[in-house]
């Protein structure tokens, strides 16, 4: 049986006097790709923040079988962050923080992980570009590269395609699909986008009136098509070779 990475057990959250989550239970196992939909204000981001440990529930419990830094997080396009004097490579290197010693900079292994993450999402040519020069689509690819460099066991995405045009949206979802196929992790994708259903999605949930409801079983996963993704973790047996 797949390992349970995170469990929300009867979690309720009240914000500014309003019950946002009401006795929500959710388990994320290794190999899960869960899509969560819901109207604006339904509590999707609140649920993510519970999983990230940023909100303490009024009742219920959040159990994590994870160490700090094992949860990757991709927020919406962050226009404020674009103003920072950072290069794309600097941001991707943030993903290595959990792996770094207390003292010093990136070690050769960290540099290699950053390079590979940049190559994997196809933005190696943008490595030296200031982040303020990025488009929305490039920004989200950079975020994906950052969490790849982090090598998380669970990946939480908060409407990552919300400000992207149709082409960039499809490209991002295809990339996410490929990444999931080559990494042994769980993914929770929060989205509004009706068309953004990756082929590898294993469960689809909706959040309504503070409660989570299962929508239905999604199609079976597809095999990845790029060898570079398999190279990323050395998990060739999970990728093309096994097909």
């Amino acid at each position: 049986m797949a390992l349970s990475l995170t469990i929300l057990d009867q979690v309720s959250v009240t914000l500014a006097g309003r019950r946002v989550l009401n006795a929500v239970s959710l388990k994320l196992h290794e190999g899960d790709f869960v899509m969560l939909r819901g109207a604006n204000g339904a509590g999707k981001t609140t649920l993510l923040r519970c999983l990230l440990g940023m909100i303490r529930p009024a009742s219920g419990s959040v159990q994590r079988a994870l160490d700090p830094g094992e949860t990757g997080y991709v927020p919406q396009v962050q226009h404020g962050a674009l103003a920072m004097p950072l290069l794309v490579r600097d941001v991707v290197a943030i993903g290595r923080c959990a792996h770094l010693p207390f003292w010093g900079g990136l070690r050769p292994a960290d540099e290699q992980a950053v390079d590979l993450a940049l190559q994997t999402v196809g933005i190696a040519h943008l490595a030296k570009r200031p982040i303020r020069m990025l488009s929305g689509g490039e920004m989200q690819k950079m975020q994906l590269a950052r969490v790849l460099a982090q090598q998380p066991r669970i990946l939480l995405l908060d409407e990552p395609t919300v400000h992207l045009d149709a082409a960039s949206r499809h490209e991002f979802i295809a990339l996410l699909n490929h990444v999931f196929q080559t990494r042994p992790m769980a993914v929770l994708l929060v989205t509004h986008d009706e068309h953004a259903v990756p082929p590898c999605c294993t469960r689809e949930l909706t959040l309504h009136d503070g409660g989570v409801r299962e929508v239905g079983q999604a199609p079976l996963p597809v095999q990845p098509s790029t060898s570079i993704l398999a190279d990323y973790t050395g998990s060739a047996e999970r990728s093309g070779k096994g097909a």
Binding site: P68, L86, G95
Partner: protein, 267 residues
């Protein structure tokens, strides 16, 4: 002019304050909390005035007030940007009002209190210079050691937290650094003008580079040029040093704004 000890102290103090204020300024600017620096400087000013009133060294009062301000400001600083500057402005207004109330209670001529407002780099003592040097060394080392964590927190606090960065510790460290910086530099430019040296060199550097490392380095250079240039001009033109330092830093910022590239920002 170097045969005079007070001038040697003034030069050394100016260089150290230029580095210290600009490094801390970069942190506050990029955290979008420049008001935090102003708030700290007003708290330090209030503490120093109270110290003069009760007869202890102004630096001790400034440090105590900054430590208390860190505890008071901490819940505000922990929040994300929205609303934080408004709350800090209220604290700033309150501390400034209190400072002037206490100042009015000082007996006799208020020269020492006025020194705390305008600064008096020429009266810097060896002990004050040693404190300034120590603070500069510690803050510089902390910025170098924790630059990866700092970059992550500046980029996005939630992303930093999920990447395993101790965000609360970094923010608390920045607050402590701001308090220590302002207390140690109070004698150089004074409580009213210290804000200029916190913000202007950092803002000028921000407009000229897209690298975090270069932002810190350029800000430090601009800080030194502001303080040393201000000291030199004030010496020859017989003007108040702190005020001229603030003016030089403003000119540097205007020049950087004119020469900078951020006006062609894509987003």
């Amino acid at each position: 002019m170097f045969e005079f000890a007070f001038l040697r102290y003034a030069l050394a103090g100016s260089v150290l304050a230029g580095i210290l204020l600009s490094l801390t300024g970069v942190l506050l600017l990029l955290l979008d909390m420049p008001f935090l620096g102003t708030c700290m400087s007003h708290a330090a000013f209030l503490g120093a005035i109270v110290a003069v009133l009760v007869g202890v060294h102004p630096l001790a009062g400034a440090l105590t007030a900054c430590a208390l301000a860190v505890l008071a400001i901490w819940p505000v600083a922990e929040r994300t940007k929205a609303g934080a500057n408004g709350a800090l402005s209220v604290v700033m207004a309150g501390t400034m009002g209190l400072a002037f109330v206490f100042m009015s209670r000082l007996p006799g001529p208020k020269s020492e209190a006025l020194t705390l407002i305008w600064g008096s780099v020429l009266t810097l003592t060896a002990a004050e210079l040693a404190w300034l040097a120590g603070t500069t060394l510690v803050v510089t080392l902390l910025v170098i050691i924790f630059h990866r964590w700092i970059a992550a927190v500046l980029y996005d606090r939630d992303v930093a937290r999920s990447s395993g960065v101790p965000v609360r510790a970094v923010l608390f460290g920045v607050l402590l650094a701001a308090g220590a910086t302002v207390s140690a530099s109070l004698d150089i430019v004074g409580g009213l003008l210290i804000f200029a040296l916190l913000v202007n060199p950092a803002s000028a550097a921000y407009h000229l580079t897209d690298r975090l490392k270069w932002t810190f380095l350029l800000a430090a250079v601009f800080g030194i040029v502001s303080t040393l240039g201000g000291l030199w001009i004030s010496y020859w033109l017989d003007l108040p040093a702190g005020a001229v330092m603030a003016l030089v830093s403003t000119l540097i910022f205007i020049a950087a704004l004119a020469a900078g590239h951020r006006h062609c920002q894509r987003n």
